[in-house]
Symmetry: C2
DNA sequence: CTCCTTAATGAAAATGATTTCCATTTCTAA
DNA sequence: TTAGAAATGGAAATCATTTTCATTAAGGAG
């Protein structure tokens, strides 16, 4: 008798197993939530969303899973300066849609943007090459964020 | 009889008073340390350096003063992802020497750089204008940081 | 210079996100 | 089935930063 639904496991099954991780029920729920959510969720946000589907999960497991996902490159861990880490699904196997962030310092609204991304990418390439050589750094990552006031916050007095 | 040393108060006396702040002994010592230190100091680092000159100061006052200085624009508050804020003197009245950072994810070494700053500034200008208009944001600040391994850390296996 | 109002201070306690511990459960490969 | 490894959850620990509150000290008015 064949397994009911082999597809149910999603494309990431292989990714987990290939790295020696086990794809547990908790992890699947977390991944499911993450892949379907827009925005930039805190561990607590994720906990809240996972809980109804998996009431026994502990916040500790959320943190641990997020750490694994982050190391696997499946999730980006972000810091917008509000005292808690935020997580964002890094898109499917086709690769991530690279973008940066615009953050409202008043209401914490976050806008994804990719408008000037080509120029940015080019600048990043140059900078990584130039600085890497000059300071003997092996650059692997970068953060570009803009801070300011969103429309609502700049008008409301 | 003239005051012994009116200059002793430094150029920031006016800046404080102008904003309704009092220039206390503790604040002066902190400002003095900060202005003479290279690098990116944590509140605790500053506390350690201030303590010998002003043994009664409390860490709380360090935090509070740093907050004031940061609001006055005299100090930059930075986050390199190591779980504590870092502070850097924003240069004298002549204006800050704008730079960005290269951070080693292994030993936390931080390098200031301004090498590609012209291209970066131009990109920032464009981006701030373009994104500000498109998303109706009043952009006031940005963060650009590169992460990777410094020379030492990338060689030591 | 002295007084008075109020900002500033320091010690201790509180906060709160994240981590660590550890006993228990679940996988997995043989 | 079974032993070893990985994962889990609840409670306790961490630890940078903030809050509270009683006390002190700027600095303007007189
Ligand atoms: Mn995003
Ligand atoms: Mn710097
Ligand atoms: Zn806003
Ligand atoms: Zn290093």
């Amino acid at each position: 008798m064949p397994k009911r639904n082999c597809q149910g496991q999603g494309w990431w099954h292989g990714k987990f197993r290939g790295c020696g991780y086990r794809l547990t029920a908790g992890r699947e729920v977390i991944l499911d939530i993450l892949s379907k959510s827009q925005g930039h969720l805190s561990a607590e946000d994720i906990y809240m969303k996972v809980h109804p589907k998996y009431p026994n999960i502990g916040l500790t497991t959320i943190y641990r899973t997020l750490d694994v996902l982050s190391n696997l490159g499946m999730v980006y861990k972000l810091d917008f300066g509000d005292g808690r880490a935020r997580y964002e699904f890094a898109e499917g196997p086709k690769g991530a849609h690279h973008h940066h962030h615009l953050v409202c310092t008043d209401c914490n609204r976050v806008v994804d943007y990719a408008d000037f991304i080509n120029e940015e990418i080019e600048l990043l390439r140059q900078t990584e090459k130039g600085l890497g050589a000059k300071y003997n750094f092996k650059i692997t990552d970068h953060v570009i964020q803009f801070y300011g006031l969103c429309g609502k916050c700049s008008t409301k007095k």
